[in-house]
Amino acid sequence: MRRLNVGTAVAGGLIGGSIAWFLAHQFLATDNPSGSNQVTILTMVGWAIGFMIGIGAFHGPWCWLMGRDQSHEDEKFLAGDGQGIGRYFRFTTDHKVVGIQYLVVTMVLLGVGGILAMMIRTDLIRPDSGFLSPQVYNSVVGLHGLTMIIATIIMVTGPFGNFIVPIMIGARDMAFPRLNALSLWLIVAFVPVLFSAAVLGGIPTGWSGYAPLSDQAPPGMDAYLTAIVIFAISSAIAGANITTTILTMRARGMTWNRTPIFVWGTLASVGLAIPAFPMFMGSMVLLGVDRTVGGQFYVASGGGSPWLYANLFWLMGHPEVYVIVIPAVAALMELTPVFARKPLFNYTAAVLSIVGIVGLSIMVWAHHMYASGWAPDLNGPFMLTTELISIPTGIIFLVVLGTIWRGRIWTTLPMMSTYAMLWNFIIGGVTGIYLSDVPADYDLHGSMFVTAHFHYTLMGAGLTGAIGALTYWFPKMTGRMLDRRAGFASFWLVQIGFNVTFLSMFAAGLAGQPRRVEHYDSLFGVANLVSSLGAYVIGLGMLILLYAVVSSWRRGPLAPANPWGSKTLEWTVPNPIPLENFEVLPVVIADPYGYGEGDLRVPVPRAPAPAEAVAGAATGADGATTPTGAVMTRTDAPPIPEQERP
């Protein structure tokens, strides 16, 4: 078990896949579509099981079955103790390692999704460019959509929910470290399954995979459905783990009204994901039955219904939008007080808005189906719930604006993401209101207007928030400062390119261009040309961001423990962060937003120390001793950094 790593995992996956493929060919008829679908799914499942065996995921359950519980030494090994860089390539349980692994996986997915986006925009640069054939174009659209959806689902709660949240709440690790590693490696196993769709005929259905088009699609669709099943299992495990961590492992004194807003956002996101993605998995299992053994779930002539798929899909699909956006916006709400040097404005309202959005988000799914004819009488009620969401969403703006109001605005890279969100999310929100209006949606549904709208929310608010989070926590996660010049260059290119791309896409949609078309009426020529040029600017900006991250990670200037003067707990641990984060568990006596409350910045009286807590001293990155005492959120360490180095 100690020799297992990603290499043995890939070997295991290849062996497992080959065995499954061989057996399937031996025993199944492969001369019809159902047969080749069976072979594809079995091979993928074989790959996934072999991969998980190869990484050592089944070692723990097996030992448990046999009654051999792991020793203290085993646990230390699993946590990656003393393994240097190798621990990033193993079934490592340390939440910081898992967080970094998630970050890398997210970046890979975003990179591939981005390349696919460039291909789409290149095809659409002229009305009839012929750059991609219709078949390839449809596949690229589907793969782009699905890759980006998965990437954005994990982009905040994966890297930052795993790396930052446990430290932020004053815990030594996640509640279930082994499940944490399991969820990560399932995602790693999932990636090749997803991309294998590209060589198996593609996903010609768009990311939504609507039946019965998906029933008649090539074996790429089997890759899609197997990938989603793996992803759903991973996200359910990750969701249960992060939720349990937040519910049960907050530091002493971290009551719900002292819990940082990012923790609330993460909790809302993963909590929403727990019931949402298994439903997606359910719809995929039914699709698998249809495709492999002639099931009739989505086939009208056999008593099935495409509306069943649409309902199951959007029952997951709408909560999923908030799974993506809430933690990203919550990260921005977390960092805005730091750079405005003011308390978070109306903390209670911020929490209530997150709770309100979560509550409403499970009652709005059918606004994606106004025009489906599914239940016209329900369109009114769904319009009601959908438009009600504008109230809690508006409160997010109140919180951010109130925090900025009369602040000392320190325009760092993370803070600029907040400003970009204020711009983009207003546009995304207002266009969402048009679409929530039933008659307007009858016209706009299925057009480029919708595509532009959800890019404004998922990318303009979501991805922008994730980039804000990355630039904010980069010094803590890597121990180095991010290259400021390259970072700002990337920021402006991405944001300007983004607005150019998608504002003109709104214009194309209003003029009547449908979504997901490989060529279009020359009427939409100008809007598409501008949109494509904007997309290249985004691409360039993203490449610069990648350069900034990679180069700063390798040789950027070392970061002090708390370069921003933040008051949350993750900034009280030294760089590099020791295994298990805290020698002495902190006790929280106030919320982390006490900016400007001058008298409280002098050392506060110590909270009653818990039995295990001994007043200690932690070593800072520069070797200086920072008094931490019984650690509190209003740390008595000087919160002002020396410098934000370029």
Binding site: V293, G302, G304, P576
Partner: protein, 206 residues
């Protein structure tokens, strides 16, 4: 990557009871996730039955599954859950032999039910492709079988670990949590039997 471990790593040991309470939350959340999956399947059954698209929910002249067999299989799962809880009561009262015997019986009943489930699957009087109804029955039966095998694994672990004297009157939170899961699986089986008791679509109008 510069974040390397410095100094003596801590690796603190935690109070097992605290870990147990944490696992309880985790198991409940995983049950919630699995519940959403089961709910999606049951919803599909009722939705397609209610819609009765092209009057083909049950194909014309098609045989349907025996409701009694469905309830018998659910009864098997419930019985195994009851046996398991009898074993759990045993260890909580300090009787290790009762834990070992009870878990063994529970697993045996569960595996017998699983065999019954396989027999039902292979002897349905219709093919999976006959109608939406038959597809749904095969799928629900398959999902139930998967549940049973997973639970049998947990039960086997409980039996083996009980045999190895791992649990005691004070330390048995794992046994309790497996009981929680077992109860849910029994509930899911009953829900499945209940659902499949409604066969003919109420939507037969013009």
């Amino acid at each position: 990557m510069s974040s390397v471990t410095i100094g003596e790593p801590a690796v603190h040991l935690e109070d097992p009871d605290k870990v147990g309470r944490r696992w309880r939350t985790g198991i409940l959340l995983l049950i919630l996730a699995d519940g959403a999956f089961v709910a999606a399947l049951l919803f599909s059954y009722f939705y397609l039955r209610g819609l009765n698209t092209e009057k083909a929910w049950v194909a014309h002249g098609q045989a349907t599954a025996s409701i009694v067999v469905g309830w018998l299989l659910a009864g098997g799962v419930v019985l195994s859950a009851a046996l398991y809880h009898w074993a759990l009561r045993g260890i909580r009262a300090g009787s290790e032999p009762r834990l070992v015997l009870g878990t063994l019986l529970a697993v045996a009943v569960l595996l017998a039910t699983a065999i019954g489930q396989v027999m039902q699957l292979t002897t349905f009087p219709f093919g999976v492709a006959d109608s939406a109804y038959s597809s749904a029955l095969y799928t629900l039966a398959g999902a139930n079988l998967f549940h049973l095998l997973l639970t049998a694994f947990l039960g086997a672990a409980m039996w083996n670990r009980g045999r190895l004297h791992i649990y005691s009157v004070t330390s048995n939170w794992q046994v309790r949590l497996v009981g929680l899961w077992w109860t849910w699986v029994a509930g899911a089986a009953v829900l499945g039997a209940f659902t499949t008791s409604f066969i003919a679509s109420p939507n037969v109008g013009g």
